[in-house]
Amino acid sequence: MTSHHAIEAENLVKHFGETVAVDGVSFVVPQGTVLGLLGPNGAGKTTTVRMMTTLTAPTSGTARVAGHDVLTDPAAVRRSMGLTGQAATVDELLTGRENLRLIGQLYGLDAGYIKRAGDELLERFSLAEAGDRIAKTYSGGMRRRLDLAVSLIATPPVLFLDEPTTGLDPRSRVELWEVLRELVADGTTLLLTTQYLEEADQLADNIVVIDRGTVIAEGTPLQLKDQSGAAAQVVTVSHAGDLERAEALIRPHVREVHVDAGARQLTAPAEGLGHMTKVAGLFDESAIVLDDIGLKRPSLDDVFLHLTGHRAEDTAPDADEELVS
């Protein structure tokens, strides 16, 4: 088979007794790209990953990783991929180096290689100094990085990451994103599940949105944003007192206008850059002072709400609020 897709999911279905966890999920991930599998808690993300990584058998359907079928050649799939599970599955009583050595040995790598590659990975993930300390003493971010390093000891061409940054503080999260970008630049194909829209937006070339076990949308982050409606032009005035005059000023020139007094903002549907320049011109000739005028694309949050009728992060921890991009 000469497939250029690193990962292919073909109508994956998984039942647990009466419960349908995954109900016909299909997608492809081209080599060297990042797919974000996005969905709220319980959407079926982890089960989908477990089927693709041979940990659990699909009720029906199949998946291929690096061209190998999970049903007919699970051993070849395991040789071609690395998996970082939802919990950082490092051995707490082993040092960073010993964790790397154990997994390296299980892959059947020779001792010299494990030593070299292990040192390199520790260096790369800023764990060089902590390498001889037991993992129990590591911070959450360090554990995640070690977990990832361990998954990379055999340089798998395909990497599955199940909620790699859940529970991390914003700084560790941004650091981990950096590491993941480097991996992709080196040619690794990445599939990551996340409930953070921000994360999918930051990392993924393509996004598959799943909810209640089915794919409800897919595309690039940009395409998804476009799907949920047009962009808007937003005018922010400096003084709340000007708001009414500003509204009167632009009303004849736009299809509709929404006033947000608290934010001192007027929002109107975007009608192209030329039109916005015209609107900006109106203010030039008036005495109204503006803080800002610009185009606003819908966020992936808006997209999610639009697609599912509920917010993605109902269950997400507060840490997300502090997220900086």
């Binding site: 647990f16 080599q31 060297g32 990584t53 041979t54 940990l55 659990t56 058998a57 051993a75 395991r78 040789r79 991929m81 690395g82 998996l83 599970g85 939802q86 919990a87 599955t89 051995d91 707490e92 009583l93 082993l94 010993e98 154990l102 997994i103 040995q105 299980l106 892959y107 059947g108 790598l109 020779d110 290689y113 590659a117 037991i134 361990v150 055999a154 340089t155 061409p157 080196d186 040619g187 690794t188």
Partner: protein, 275 residues
């Protein structure tokens, strides 16, 4: 703009190599947390001393070395029975923490997770046997037979430890937390190892209790080891059938337990990890 990753050579390692790598990891755990060995060191030594000196004076056994010599094979049988405990706790912890999933996602024989755990568990029990033998020697226990029978006695104990691994895998796969494992194992293994000839002669028990105790598989093991080491004495009148043939009974129990528990344990483990 896909660059080709340079991949290292992945060798076939085989079940044995993989299991040893996993067992080595468990040994590192012991090195880091020596208190993990308490169940085969301090605890049985404490039992030996407590029983030998607290009860020993009131239990009269007509053999060389007295009650202490009688007690030692019993404590050893109890310790190897408890090896199931070690397996169960370790396995549940690994399942809970996702370590088992991590291993299963690697290109290894899925059985290596269990075999590796078994290796380290038997090594663990063997440390206990050495510690107890030394304690026994210090307080007057001796083996009175030849080296062959002495070794056969130890071999039966180690064989028993192997059979108990399946109990451990079964309980470890069925339980959802280490605390639950502790609860189940305490509630079963203590009565099973005490309701036997391990710590007191059975001839003084009420007849129904004596019947239960003498048919208890642990009693066969204890009696077999006592016979092989010359720590036994003339069976009392009315001893149950297994007490007359403890060695074949012990071998039979090892085979029977393994044959029935192994498929059950493997099925439970697979079911647990397949979801």
């Amino acid at each position: 703009m896909t660059t080709t990753l340079e991949r290292p050579q992945i060798r076939e390692t085989g079940l044995l190599g993989q299991s040893l790598a996993i067992a080595r990891r468990n040994f590192i755990h012991i090195k880091r947390m020596p208190e993990m060995l308490m169940d085969v060191t301090i605890q049985p030594v404490m039992f030996v001393l407590l029983f030998a000196y607290v009860f020993g004076s009131s239990i009269d056994v007509p053999i060389d070395g007295g009650y202490k010599a009688f007690l030692l094979p019993g404590i050893m049988a109890q310790t190897v029975a408890f090896s199931s405990f070690i397996v169960a706790v370790g396995l549940t912890a690994d399942l809970e923490k996702g370590i088992v999933d991590r291993m299963r996602s690697l290109p290894i024989n899925p059985a290596a997770v269990l075999v590796g755990r078994s290796f380290s568990s038997v090594a663990h029990s063997s440390i206990g046997l050495v510690v107890m033998s030394l304690t026994g020697l210090a307080i007057g226990w001796r083996i009175h037979t030849n080296i062959l029978e002495a070794l056969l006695g130890y071999l039966l104990l180690v064989g028993w430890a192997f059979a108990m691994i399946w109990v451990g895998i079964l309980v470890g796969s069925a339980m959802r937390s280490v605390e639950a494992v502790n609860g189940v194992m305490f509630a079963t293994m203590f009565p099973v190892t005490f309701l036997a000839n391990t710590f007191a002669p059975t001839d003084g028990m009420p007849s129904w209790l004596r019947f239960v105790a003498e048919w208890n598989p642990i009693s066969s093991l204890t009696q077999a080891v006592r016979v092989l080491w010359g720590n036994d004495y003339q069976l009392a009148e009315g001893a149950a059938f297994p007490m007359h043939h403890p060695i074949p009974f012990t071998l039979g129990w090892i085979v029977l337990l393994t044959a029935t528990l192994a498929p059950l344990a493997i099925r439970t483990f697979k079911k647990r990890t397949a979801d």
